[in-house]
């Protein structure tokens, strides 16, 4: 029981601190590294809740593929003029207002959770959260959603390629 709290505190603290880092660090590449650390912490929390497949996918998809894409794009669009020195949007006095707004929402959500009554966790069937059980649920009971997801990914890939290519053609109109 004590070990559970220790692990939760460790990985929850890591993900919380690195999330704060994402918002506060000035350099965009360092923000991306901080976000990767946050994803690893979240993956560990997934393992603690016996979601092994999702933990692996979190590291593969988010910390791997998505963040590599982010770092590539950051390096492509990096500009070193004086504009990049400012990280905060708008004037300084709006910061406390935004912080208060977000804090108010978080407080309301926290109150709602505190009012809720949670019983004991349900007993888990054999192999809960593994590849076999999640795959069975996804591919047998929710096959339509799976197919729609693959369609969405296909549309996303084609859309990304078309959008990125169209911008280049406008830059050099006479080029083939």
């Amino acid at each position: 029981m004590q070990a559970d709290w220790l692990l939760f505190g460790l990985f929850g603290g890591v993900s919380l601190l690195s999330a704060i880092g994402v918002v506060t660090i000035q350099n965009a590449v360092k923000c991306a590294m901080s976000l990767i650390v946050c994803f690893f912490g979240l993956a560990a929390l997934f393992v603690l809740q016996s979601a092994e497949l999702l933990a692996v996918l979190e590291v593969l998809v988010y910390a791997g593929a998505v963040m590599v894409l982010f770092v590539f794009v950051i390096m492509l669009v990096e500009n070193k003029d004086e504009e990049s020195a400012r990280t905060v949007l708008g004037s300084k006095w709006t910061l406390p207002v935004k912080l208060a707004g977000v804090g108010l929402v978080a407080f309301a959500l926290g109150r709602a959770v505190r009012g809720a009554q949670f019983g004991e966790r349900a007993a888990l069937p054999e192999g809960f959260g593994g590849v076999a059980s999640v795959g069975r649920t996804f591919l047998r009971d929710h096959l339509l959603h799976f197919e729609l997801t693959s369609l969405l990914l296909l549309i996303g890939i084609v859309g990304a390629v078309i959008v990125a290519r169209r911008g280049r053609r406008q830059e050099e109109p006479e080029g083939s």
Binding site: V23, A106, L124, V134, I157
Partner: protein, 103 residues
């Protein structure tokens, strides 16, 4: 596993991560960092989905997390492509410089 830590602790952590991400979306100038904060918000929701899936012993939450991951991947691909095009056209990705669509 995780028998000792109550459900509330995970949900509070999820709320905290979501709020940090929302704050980042509101205050950061760099559009790519804003994007990363949106990813953070999506992941905090994933954490609460996994928590409730574990609480109910139901794999539907895991399926929903997989859907969120797929949507996030598609969103990142298209969004970053748009960002590259915007940078090519305007030489800037700061959200207060790109104000053409402001009414």
């Amino acid at each position: 596993m995780s028998g000792g830590v109550p459900v509330q602790a995970y949900i509070y952590l999820s709320i905290a991560l979501f709020s940090i991400g929302a704050f980042g979306v509101l205050v950061r100038r760099n559009a790519i960092v804003v994007f990363m904060c949106i990813e953070l918000m999506l992941n905090s929701v994933n954490l609460s989905l996994v928590t409730f899936a574990r609480y109910h012993g139901d794999l539907l939450g895991h399926v929903l997390v997989l859907l969120v991951m797929a949507v996030a991947a598609a969103e990142v691909a298209v969004g970053l492509a748009i960002m590259i095009v915007v940078f090519r056209e305007r030489r800037s990705i700061y959200v207060d410089v790109l104000r053409d669509m402001r009414g």
